[in-house]
Symmetry: C2
Subunit: 329 residues, 2 copies
C-alpha cells in the first residue's frame, strides 16, 4: 500500500481537458457517420463541425477522462488536483468551474491564443454505449512547461491518461510528470484509455508500463491490445510480469486486481438500468485510487471502484451526481 | 380557431436567447445568496460571476423561454421559427445548434461585438423548484432591425415573452413584431413570464393585453399581479374583458382556458416524480399553441399543454427529451 509520507494531495491527474457535448442517437447515426461504436476517435475541426451539425439537441458538461477521475476522488472525500489546458472561452470557463466546484485544485497550463477549449462529441446509443469524437483543441498543446511541479510532487499518486500519448508535446509532458513524481517518491499510474489508442502507441505503452508505471488501469480490450493477444488470460500473465499492480475492468463482470502473486476478482455493483456508460472506467479508477490512498486492501479498492462506476452509468454524463462518500459506507 | 390562410410556420417565437446553466443546491444556498425562490431575477456580470462561483457542478443546455416553447412546438410536429440574439461564442453556437437540431428555423439578429451570449443560472432545489438568475448579455440588445419581417408575417401565431419587456430596445422590437403580425392577419400571443416582471411593467402589460394580445399565457400569480388582486376569480373576470383568449396555468391543478363566454378547466397530466420544474410553462404553451394551430378545441389544446409540461418537469432541463408527438396520440 502507498504510504509515501505526507502529501497535500491523494491523487494528481493529468489529461486532456475537454467539455463533453452529449447527444442521443440511434445506431443508424453510428453507421451513417462511420463511427466506431464504443471507441474514441480524434477528429479535426471540419469533422467535428460536421458531426455536431448532424446531431440532435445536446447537453454540455465538463468531461475529460482524468478530470472525471479527479472529480470522483474528490466526491469520495479525497484530495485531488488536476493539470490540463483550456482556453479562456466559454467552455474553458465551464471546465474550470466544474472542477473547482467539487473541490479539485485546477492547475491550468498557460493559455494559447486562438486555440479553443477541446470538446468531445459523445453519441449515446439506446444500448447506453458511448461513442466519442474528440476535438482536442488547446488540450493537446499540454507540454512540460505547463506542468506544475510542486503540485505533482505533492500527490501520493500521479494519474495520467493514455489519451495524452496521441500528441508528442503531451507525451513529453507525460514522461516529465512521471519523473517528477518518482523523484518525489510518489506512485505513477496510467490508464490505457482506449484499445485503438493503445494500438496506435503500443511500443511506447509497453516501455512505459515496464519502466515507469506502478499502477496500470485499463479494460480487457485495452490489455489484450497492449499485448497483441486475444487471450485475456495471456494478457494477465504478461502484465503481472511488467507492472506492480494492474487493475483491469471487464464491464458487467466487474474487475480484476492483478499483482505478481495474486489475482483478485471484484464483482460489479448491480445497476437497475444502465443509461450512459460514459465515465465508467474513469470513475472506477477514482474509487480504486481513493481506496488505495486510504490504505484499503485491493478488494476494498475495487469495491469502491465498482460503486463509483455503477453511479456514473446510471445517468447521463461522466461525473457523479451524488457525493460518492455517501455510497461508500 | 385560427385559420389565417396559408402560413410557412405554425408559430414564430421571439425572446431572450439564453443558455441555461443548471445546478442543484439546497434551500440554504437560496437564503444565503438572497435569491427569490421560483422567480427570475436579472443579474449583472459581477453577480452572475459570484453566483456561478458559489454553485456546484453545472450542466449547460439551451434555454430561453420562447425558444423552449418553439422546440416544444417542433417536437409535436409543428413548424416553428425563432428570433433572438446570440453572439458568435461557444454558448451562441450551442444555442443555434440546439434549435436547428429539432427543426426550429433560427433567425438570429445581427451580432454585437464583445457582448457575450446570455445565460440563465438556474438553481434547482430538492423540491424541484427552479430559481433563475439571468445575465441577458447580447440577448437584451434585440431591436427592431433584428426582426426578420418575412418570418414573422409567415407565422400563424406570433409568440413573445413578457421577459422582453425588461429592456427598452426589446420592448420596441416587441411592438414592431406585433404590428407586423397583425398587418399580415396573424394572431399575437404573449406569455407574462414572471410575476415580478409583470410587477415591474404592469401598465405596459395592461395596455398590451387590451390592445395587441390575442392569446395571453400566464400562471395564476402572474395574472393576479397583472390585475393587482389576490383573488384569482377577480383576475379571471378582468382578463376575459380584455383578451379574446387567456390560458392560465395553476401548477398541479392544471390550467384554465378563459374566453369571454367560457372558462374550461384542464387537469394536469399525472407525473410520477417531479424533478425540475424549469420549462413547465414554456412547454405548456408549446402544447397549447400546437393544438391551436391544428384547429383543436380549447380543452384539446390544454391537454396537449398538460402533456408537454408533464414531460419536461420529469427530468432536468427546459426542453423535451422525447418527441412530444409520440405522447400526443
Amino acid at each position: 500500500m502507498s504510504s509515501n509520507g505526507d502529501a497535500r494531495y491523494d491523487v494528481v491527474g493529468i489529461g486532456n481537458a475537454l467539455v463533453d457535448v452529449i447527444a442521443h442517437a440511434d445506431d443508424l447515426f453510428i453507421t451513417e457517420h462511420e463511427l466506431v461504436k464504443g471507441s474514441m476517435t480524434l477528429v479535426e475541426t471540419d469533422r467535428a463541425v460536421q458531426l455536431y451539425r448532424a446531431l440532435g439537441s445536446a447537453v454540455e458538461m465538463s468531461g475529460g477522462s482524468a478530470a472525471n477521475t479527479m472529480c470522483g476522488v474528490a466526491s469520495f472525500g479525497g484530495r485531488a488536483a488536476y493539470v490540463g489546458k483550456v482556453s479562456d472561452d466559454d467552455l474553458g470557463q465551464v471546465f474550470g468551474h466544474d472542477l473547482l466546484a467539487v473541490g479539485v485544485n485546477f492547475r491550468p497550463g498557460a493559455p494559447a491564443d486562438g486555440v479553443p477549449t477541446g470538446r468531445c462529441i459523445i453519441v449515446v446509443t439506446p444500448d447506453a454505449q458511448r461513442t466519442m469524437n474528440t476535438y482536442l483543441g488547446v488540450s493537446s498543446l499540454l507540454c512540460p512547461p505547463d506542468l506544475d511541479e510542486a503540485t505533482i510532487a505533492d500527490g501520493r499518486v500521479l494519474y495520467m491518461e493514455g489519451y495524452l500519448y496521441d500528441r508528442d508535446d503531451a507525451k513529453d509532458a507525460f514522461r516529465t510528470a512521471a519523473a517528477i513524481a518518482h523523484e518525489a517518491g510518489r506512485k505513477v499510474s496510467l490508464t490505457l484509455s482506449d484499445s485503438f489508442c493503445v494500438d496506435r502507441h503500443r511500443d511506447d505503452f509497453l516501455a512505459l508500463v515496464s519502466d515507469e508505471v506502478d499502477i496500470l488501469f485499463g479494460n480487457d480490450d485495452e490489455l489484450c491490445s497492449l499485448y497483441r493477444t486475444e487471450s485475456f488470460d495471456h494478457a494477465i500473465t504478461e502484465v503481472r510480469q511488467h507492472c506492480q499492480l494492474a487493475v483491469i475492468t471487464v464491464g458487467a463482470d466487474g474487475s480484476y486486481v492483478v499483482t505478481h502473486d495474486d489475482v483478485v476478482h471484484v464483482p460489479a455493483e448491480p445497476v437497475t438500468r444502465v443509461i450512459d456508460t460514459t465515465g465508467a472506467g474513469d470513475l472506477y479508477a477514482a474509487g480504486f485510487l481513493y481506496g488505495y490512498t486510504q490504505g484499503r486492501d485491493h478488494a476494498g479498492c475495487g469495491r469502491l471502484g465498482s460503486i463509483a462506476a455503477a453511479e456514473v452509468i446510471s445517468h447521463v454524463g461522466p461525473r457523479p451526481l451524488v457525493e460518492l462518500r455517501t455510497l461508500a459506507s
